[in-house]
């Protein structure tokens, strides 16, 4: 067997076409991970810069405030989800979902749906990252490397002779294909491993990513192997394989996506916003009880402090901000759970498409999948709750204003 492999490796070294595909794979892998590493670095720098400027801006805004309500109104707080140490390999949803927000004490639903996204053309085309390379391009390269192993010999009329000399077909084709698959795999993986070292990715994740890629290439190898047993000309084989690739990489995902999105409709985002807006705005004209009653249902602890004497009081103002969120909550929950349901169904369907499966698995490892982005939104909601918990005692107990107290304002800490 070892002798066979060495012989096939020597053959491969003389096969210009195969070397071209392998070289291309190596080059693309280097390009993909370099772009990824640079992008992650860029995002980290952006976050570091934002954290600094945000603190300065807040200090600036708080300076000269004279009451708790004003301080809460003018102080913004940065929240962010830093890219993980594997995000360089799969940017996933980070291109279409926001990963940074500035929030303040006002109704959260008016703030959390803001998307600080980039050039729209970028989100449309998508980027060239390792996940895309591994999921979509690598199978095509594998097909191009393997499809005519048999057929080329057949059209060169050496096929039967070779089989006869080799003893069994397995001994001939298996080492030949194995050498190519392993070479492709290594050339794709080496840049990924290198970048993982640079990015400090944990070994566990690197091993999982490696396993996913091996699994994907094995599946495609199996597909190529089964198709190329058919006694047909190389171009018919290649056409059929490309057709299979199209079906698995484009048609199955696209059709499933359409079906999933019909099955799991989302509440219209505009309605969430409108509902929250109307509630907050109407509050100005409504009797104050219309705000304080639903507010105190959520926060009975402030009942004793909730008497309102003046026409405008900050505690009333922030109470109707919160009531705006409360009224929108059912729609918001529906929106959130529909997104999660879509993601769950997409996860199940992705077993039908190796390309979808690989891309989703990489995004999951990188923490850039839909679930991670929703987890970030949850963290923002959690932080906003902390802000309210910090401010309500100050607003309701009506203690004398003291800037020093605001040094203890909650600070957003990213979870990962």
């Amino acid at each position: 067997m070892v002798g066979n492999l060495v012989r096939e490796a020597r053959f491969l070294a003389k096969d210009g076409g195969a070397l071209f595909w392998l070289g291309l794979a190596f080059l693309l892998s280097i390009v993909a991970v370099s772009f990824g590493v640079a992008e992650v670095r860029d995002q980290q720098e952006t976050i570091a810069e934002l954290v600094k400027e945000d603190a300065a801006d807040r200090a600036n805004a708080l300076k000269g405030q004279e009451d708790w309500g004003g301080a809460a109104y003018y102080a913004f707080h940065l929240t962010h989800a830093p890219p993980s140490d594997f995000a360089f390999a799969a940017m996933g949803q980070r291109d279409s979902s926001p990963w940074k927000h500035r929030v303040r004490m006002l109704a959260l639903e008016g703030q959390i749906h803001e998307a600080d996204t980039r050039n729209a053309d970028f989100g449309l085309v998508g980027r060239f990252d390792f996940a895309f390379l591994a999921a979509s391009v690598a199978p095509l390269l594998l097909i191009l490397l393997l499809y005519d192993l048999r057929a080329a010999e057949r059209s060169a009329r050496r096929h039967d002779l070779l089989i006869a000399t080799a003893g069994s077909p397995i001994q001939l084709w298996f080492p030949r294909a194995l050498v190519r698959v392993v070479a492709l795999l290594l050339l794709l993986l080496i840049p990924l491993w290198g970048a993982s070292l640079v990015a400090g990715t944990s070994l566990d994740i690197v091993l999982k990513a490696t396993a996913i890629l091996i699994g994907a290439l094995l599946i495609w190898w199996l597909i190529v192997e089964l198709v190329s047993r058919v006694n047909a000309s190389p171009s018919v084989l290649l056409t059929s394989l490309i057709g299979l690739w199209l079906a698995l990489a484009i048609i199955v995902p696209a059709l499933s996506k359409a079906v999933i999105e019909v099955r799991q409709p989302l509440p219209n985002g505009g309605e969430i916003l409108l509902l929250q807006r109307e509630t907050v705005n109407d509050a100005w004209d409504l009797p104050k009880e219309a705000t304080m009653t639903p507010f105190l249902e959520e926060h009975p602890e402030w009942s004793a402090y909730a008497t309102l004497e003046e026409a405008f009081e900050w505690k009333w103002y922030y109470a109707f901000q919160q009531v705006g969120d409360q009224v929108a909550a059912p729609l918001v929950n529906q929106y959130r759970s529909a997104r999660l349901a879509r993601d769950r169904e997409a996860g199940l369907i992705s077993f039908l498409s190796p390309t979808s499966f690989v891309e989703r698995s990489f995004e999951k490892l990188a923490g850039t999948d839909a679930a991670s982005m929703i987890a970030y939104e949850d963290a923002v909601r959690d932080f906003h709750r902390q802000l309210r918990d910090f401010h309500y005692p100050l607003l309701f107990r009506d203690q004398p204003f003291d800037l020093n107290t605001l040094k203890d304002l909650p600070v957003y800490a990213p979870t990962s």
Partner: protein, 478 residues
Amino acid sequence: MSMVFRIAKEEWRLWLRSKVVVMAALIVGTLLAVTSVLTINRVAEEQSQRLAQQVEAEETFFAQPDRHPHRMVHYGHYAFRPPPPLAIFEPGVDAVTGQSIFLEGHRQNTAMFADTKAAADLGGFAALTPASLYQLLLPLLLIVLGHALFLRERESGTLAVILAQGQSGVTLAMGKMAALLAVIIIFMIPLIIVAAYSVSLGESPLGALSLVGGYFAYLCVWGAIVLAASIILKQRAVSLGVLIFMWLFAALIVPRFAINASSAAIDAPGKIESDLVMLSEQRKLGDGHNAADPAFQRLQAEVLEQYDVETIEELPINWRGVVASYSEAELTDLLNGYAENRMSLEASQSRIFDLFGLISPTIAIGSLSRTFAGTDLATHHRFLRESEKLRFDFVQSLNEVHVNELSYADDMNRNADAEAARRAQVNSEAWQVLDEFRFAPDNASERIGRATISLGVLITWLLVSISIVFLAARRVRL
């Protein structure tokens, strides 16, 4: 000429006999039909939904009760971007940008609720549109059909016979080209139907026609590349391999590579980033809610002098309204400066991206298609600008009401008691200042003008690829 026709006919006879080819054509045809119907339905629904939302937003604004005018500034308004007629073929950036924007005083918000954020994630190609089928799948179909156009004659030995009969390589190439052209024309039919339908929805015939023309040129480029490869290369499998590599490169790799490269070449800061930089400048402008802000001292002196009075209480107009109006104008200037800067950076990123069309015709047609359809980045930017104008106009009109129709004394007293609050309201008729907002795409000639670079790139591709076919055909030997 009859020879050319006969060669083309022979080619068609072979294709119709080949199961692979017929299957492939059927699958692509079905896909085109299905995605077209799905996209047309979706876009029609979005169109009517957004128009209804726009009308509803206006009606609720008009129907607001009597109140303090500044409350209406914060009540705000919405702008919706309904998809243009050709979005039924090319939905463009719409899915990424979101389509509604909330407009309010002292702030420029971003468009919200982009579809992609909530989409089921199934990887890179899951968002299938008729346009992406034309861009990605049809070239592949042409490759399958045509990679052996010449090679078959070579392999079966008929090439020798044809040349010996005195036919030149060019005649043969023209025959093959005619056969391929017929295929392309047949596959243009769905697009022509969709384009005609878009005209019935209000698209200008010129816009629809240029979209059809653009895709026809694009498919001809691929047809010529395929034919050239089959003439130049000597083995069927090599020809197919090379063509598939070119497709892989042009359709999958270069566009994504170009995205990474153009975003690396020009750093366009996000909104939060540029907002933070802007905020320190904004602070110098003063807070428009606080008429006593020292930033407004000079304004105060000027206004007092203009009306020849000593104190703001004596002014015939409402000083708080004056401050609100003045600071809104200053702030909007500042905000627009930053917004314009962001948009121009994005536009130059996209220009770099378009230049990559020189190595991938798919990029060129993608840009052309979005521009012709009116679903490109530039149209989105125009939407942002127009909705900003809408915002500024209604906010300033309300501020004018604040200046002229609400006395300073009542305004300052507004929190004293219920009666005082009532006096600090203006009649709801004042809310009629809001303009109707109906976003429409640019007219066709402007869109075509904007597509000059990509159009030039695509025409270059067409000329170069056809020249290569003729050069190669003239040198055909055995």
